[in-house]
């Protein structure tokens, strides 16, 4: 089902179940967002994606990433750049910047929405350039991948994405998806040869049996084996060497 709504004056047929943020994007309106990742369910924690919703003469602010369109939304008017929205968005980013003044992502967003320099510094202010800003993307990715190895833990200055007690976790498979998706680069990963170190644990990358290049860890392969039935043979070679092999087979069996 689709319902007629208006976003910034543009009428659109919003699909039931879609989020306001996606619906806006569909008609070319970009709403700034931090904690939203299109592959994951929204959590609405950063509040950057705030919009103003007007319905039946009532107006309210709402986060657009987790506002799911339902029948009751028919006829609603959404504003992504009303005065109220702009001042709220600036407030949100200024508060975040008083906590993380040096994080580039926040600096850029502040410039984008015309926010001023943060006033008073937050008591737990983190001066690092790559710091955890609590968006929870790492933990949600880990959950989506079925590992549940990390979560946002602890309070105040100590709060970051981490494994339980910051110890090497037996649930972590070392895929490094958290590291590659962290919007501020706060998650460290080191790779030397076929060894990868992440979250205080060392992983072996399965070396390609012809060239030695590693793509995934032994633990990832084991997970795919038990959860999806992939046999060991799938992961014996890297993509380039597989192509060479398959080309060899094709040239053997086809007539020239």
């Amino acid at each position: 089902m689709a319902y007629k709504i208006k976003i910034d004056g543009k009428e659109t047929d919003a699909e039931e179940g879609a989020t306001l943020l996606d619906e806006a994007l569909k008609i070319g309106i970009r709403i700034p967002a931090i904690c939203k990742h299109p592959g994951l369910g929204p959590i609405g924690s950063c509040r950057m994606c705030v919009v103003e919703i007007k319905k039946d003469d009532k107006s309210r602010l709402a986060t657009s990433c987790n506002h799911v369109i339902r029948e009751k939304d028919t006829g609603m008017e959404v504003f992504t750049d009303s005065e109220r929205v702009i001042s709220k968005r600036r407030e949100v980013i200024e508060k975040m910047r008083s906590r993380w003044p040096n994080v580039k992502l926040l600096k850029d967003l502040a410039a984008q929405c015309g926010a001023g320099e943060p006033g008073e510094r937050h008591p737990d202010a983190d001066l690092a350039f790559n710091a955890c800003i609590h968006c929870g993307i790492c933990a949600r990715i880990c959950d989506a991948l079925g590992h549940h190895a990390i979560s946002l833990a602890d309070r105040a200055a100590e709060k970051t994405g981490k494994t339980p007690f910051c110890e090497a976790s037996k649930d972590c498979v070392g895929c490094a998806a958290c590291h590659r998706n962290c919007p501020t680069g706060a998650i460290e990963m080191n790779e030397t040869g076929s060894k990868r170190t992440i979250w205080n644990r060392e992983f072996d990358l399965i070396p390609c049996s012809s060239c030695g290049r590693g793509l995934i860890t032994r633990e990832q392969a084991a997970f795919l084996r038990t959860s999806k039935g992939f046999s060991e043979a799938y992961f014996d070679k890297c993509d380039a060497c597989k192509r060479t092999d398959v080309a060899g087979t094709i040239s053997r069996i086809s007539k020239w």
Binding site: A144, G146, C175, K242, A247, I250, S254
Partner: protein
């Protein structure tokens, strides 16, 4: 992923015996998928088997794709119009499992694992076939029922 009925009208046929190893397909693909034609972005690669035998390697758009089976976030889906298995870039979390899972090596990783890419049949107008001088790669109408073609 199960083979769904597709509205696919054309199929990319490959006849390796016709290939002369000119790599025009690689260049066409690179230009079609990157600004300025970065060769590393080509989804097709021609393997030289020696003695004048060349085999262009590209995604088979499998009926039951291993890449999609290895993806845990639903970032690989079939485009019902072209029949191509496509990467939904926004959803990808870069775990590299699809690259490791494709039995034919046709899922590619960006440098330092910053993403993945594969053949998307150029959305229904594959440039490799368009520029292949010997018709090794040919995008031609499916003559057998679509269901059997993607198997």
């Amino acid at each position: 992923m199960v083979v769904e009925e597709t509205a696919m009208k054309n199929r990319l046929n490959v006849t390796p015996s016709k290939c002369i190893g000119c790599r025009t397909c690689e260049i066409a693909c690179a230009f079609s998928h990157s600004v300025g034609g970065t060769m590393g972005k080509s989804r097709v690669s021609v393997a030289n088997r020696g003695g004048g035998a060349f085999v262009p390697m590209l995604c088979l758009q499998c009926g039951t794709p291993a890449c999609a089976a290895a993806c845990q976030v639903g970032a690989l889906a079939r485009n019902p119009e072209t029949g191509a298995v496509e990467v939904i870039q926004a959803k990808c979390v870069k775990c590299m499992q699809c690259v490791a899972a494709c039995p034919f090596g046709n899922m590619h990783a960006e440098p330092s694992a910053s993403g993945v890419f594969k053949c998307d049949l150029c959305g229904g107008n594959p440039k490799c076939a368009m520029f292949c001088p010997t018709k090794t790669l040919e995008y031609s109408p499916v003559r057998i029922p679509a269901r059997a073609a993607v198997r």
